[in-house]
């Protein structure tokens, strides 16, 4: 990403936001959007497909299953003692432990995946941000410099933003 200026436009309306995103993407800009809730129109306009979170869930879940199977079988064999006339390694009761650890590991790894992918926790977030994004406004953010900056500003202004802020991008 080149050093330049970041422009953040705040919109009141969903359709303006979507149109601004579509316009910027057509002009070849890399766009970031903000919304007070997950909106599939915005995701669609940004061309999102699947999230890799699902891989984390799957791998975590299978790790849980495997861990539980290995652990229950190993501990049974490690100190073999017949309980209730059942075989030393008796799979049906272990299925319950396997199920529980599948869910546990799957859930935890989903959360870890989410944190990694969406860069959370992030206690020093970006410089320009509108606190109204968690209330009722939508936002569109774009980085550019020179003539491209004017292009971006024009596309954003076409959709009549409530507010337009510009700030120097710190990272190079």
């Amino acid at each position: 990403m080149s050093a330049g200026t970041g422009i953040l436009a705040s919109y009141e309306y969903l359709d303006s936001t979507v149109d601004a995103i579509t316009g910027l993407r057509k002009a070849g800009f890399e766009v970031k959007a903000y919304a007070p809730y997950p909106d599939h129109h915005i995701e669609h306009a940004l061309g999102y497909d699947q999230s890799p979170v699902r891989v984390w869930t799957l791998v975590g879940g299978l790790t849980g299953t495997a861990t539980a199977l290995a652990f229950t079988v190993w501990t049974s064999v490690d100190w073999p003692i017949v309980v209730g006339g059942k075989p030393i390694v008796s799979i049906p009761p272990y299925v319950i432990i396997m199920f529980e650890l599948t869910v546990l590991f799957g859930a935890l790894s989903t959360i870890i995946g989410l944190f990694v992918l969406s860069r959370l926790p992030n206690l020093k977030p970006s410089v320009i941000y509108d606190p109204e994004f968690t209330a009722g406004r939508y936002g569109v953010y774009v980085e550019a410099d020179g003539a491209r900056l004017d292009d971006a500003r024009r596309i954003l202004n076409d959709q009549e933003p409530i507010e337009l802020r510009e700030g120097q991008v710190a990272h190079a």
Binding site: D15, P38, S51, T75, F99, E100, L101, L104, T110
Partner: protein, 461 residues
């Protein structure tokens, strides 16, 4: 329809909350709830704290130093109020995840405004339930033996035992429901952060983890939420099944039955939904949330109660029927003893509160009357506690050998701990209503009609 923005997609939500129009209205109303608390809140918190004090004195001050003998537990009846209350609270915990996971996957349009409170209730109920095994084991300092850790002699827990399944089920349930609860809170904590000032802002800044609502955050959040819901769904159904196996895997007459898992799960959802009603009715009144919790919501919860009450009643009746039909003498005696034996009163409280009172929910007028629902929900809470008491105590006190029959009477210590558990639960719930957004801001916005510049949008290009 070039940008694909349509209004009808969210029409269902608009129907559930007809009095909500603007997205930031939700922030205003919900964040207002987290403002400086009134005298009533402090009074309740003080009451809860006092109850916790009594609870701690009874448990750590009396029972731990003196021994489990201060409870009424004895020879035949080794499980009593502690196990009853454990099962009760685990049951209460069920509806939160039911509403947040199962109804999420089914896209039930009425869950949004209730689910945060229900989920908080779940987390606090498991926190309460989790204390009871520790109380019940008596020698608290040995409780860690439940955990499979490599000890000096490499002895491992018996994975063929339902009690160990229970340890895994309840800890998994607690971890997953707490995670799920916290995840759903993050965007709303960010909303609180953006409005708060001073020390509160600092606090929310940290726990919001820097959430900004950017597109990639929402995208991964949405997907993670679906997967967590998919994982939590079978978990909800499994936890109380596993708890029921603590009983059903033994050969005690009255416990040894295959109907227990579905019967316990239905009972858990039943009691959980009733507890949600009990908590949400005062919350709605105190905070003036009429626009958020409409009669439609209560009607839906009442129907869920009605359905599960019928399943529970069916389970009761089929247990009695099968005890008779089996021709098995001990089974017949056990169930006859339940109805007409020493603990007949507990059984009849259970039957009246769980089987008969909810029949009133068939009437729309009752379902639409919030005071009536509140009263019924209290009856259900009482009835469901007694259901577990009946299952635990009446089965144990009258097992196979007549010389081993005996009676159980809860002691003062047990009653203090039982009442204290409600205070412990209430304490956390009271703190929750002031510290975290008690209504899911972001999920409500999802079902509200989005603000459109072009009002006739849909064919807009």
């Amino acid at each position: 329809m070039a940008n694909g923005v349509t209004k009808d997609a969210t029409a269902r939500g608009a129907m559930t909350h007809p009095d909500l129009h603007r997205l930031d209205d939700v922030n205003r109303d919900v964040l207002k709830m987290m403002g400086p608390p009134g005298k009533g809140w402090w009074a309740l918190l003080g009451l809860a704290a006092t109850g916790i004090g009594v609870f701690l004195v009874a448990w750590l001050g009396v029972q731990v130093p003196v021994g489990i003998g201060v409870s009424g537990l004895n020879g035949p009846v080794g499980w009593g109020v502690y196990i009853t209350t454990f099962v009760f609270w685990v049951g209460i915990a069920h509806s939160g995840t039911l509403i947040s996971a199962i109804l999420f996957l089914f896209r039930a349009p009425w869950r949004q405004s209730i689910y945060r409170a229900a989920e908080a209730m779940t987390v606090f109920a498991v926190m309460t339930a989790g204390l009871f095994p520790l109380i019940h084991v008596g020698r608290l300092w040995h409780a860690y033996w439940l955990v499979p850790y490599p000890n000096a002699r490499f002895l491992w827990p018996n994975f063929k035992s339902p009690l160990i399944w229970d340890v895994f089920a309840v800890t998994t349930y607690f971890t997953v429901s707490a995670t799920f609860f916290f995840l759903g809170c993050i965007p709303d904590i960010a909303a609180a952060r953006d409005r708060a000032t001073g020390l509160r802002k600092k606090f929310y800044q940290v726990i919001a983890l820097g959430w900004q609502g950017s597109d990639s955050q929402w995208h991964h959040f949405g997907k993670a939420y679906i997967f967590l819901a998919a994982l939590a769904t079978p978990l909800v159904l499994s936890v109380h099944s596993v708890v029921s196996w603590d009983f059903a895997m033994s050969i005690v007459p009255g416990w040894h039955t295959t109907i227990f898992a579905p019967y316990f799960v239905a009972g858990a959802i039943y009691s959980g939904v009733a507890m949600v009603i009990t908590l949400v009715v005062p919350m709605r009144k105190i905070f003036g949330l009429e626009a958020y919790l409409t009669t439609k919501h209560f009607d839906a919860m009442a129907k869920l109660c009605l359905l599960t009450s019928m399943i529970v009643l069916y389970a009761y009746l089929s247990e009695f029927f099968l005890a008779w039909y089996s021709g098995e003498e001990v089974e017949r005696t056990a169930f006859w003893n339940r109805l007409f034996g020493n603990y007949w009163w507990a059984t009849w409280i259970m039957l009246v509160c769980n089987g008969m009172v909810p029949v009133m929910l068939w009437f729309k007028r009752v379902r639409h009357s919030i005071p009536a629902l509140f009263v019924i929900s209290i009856f259900v809470n009482i009835g469901m506690w007694f259901e577990r008491y009946v299952i635990v105590v009446t089965s144990l006190h009258h097992e196979y050998e007549p010389f081993a029959w005996g009676m159980y009477r809860p002691s003062v210590v047990e009653m203090c701990i039982l009442l204290g558990s409600f205070c412990w639960f209430g304490f956390w719930f009271l703190l929750f209503t002031r510290l975290l957004p008690p209504i899911a801001i972001q999920e409500l916005k999802e079902v509200m009609p989005p603000p459109m510049r072009n009002k006739a949008s849909g064919a807009h290009s």
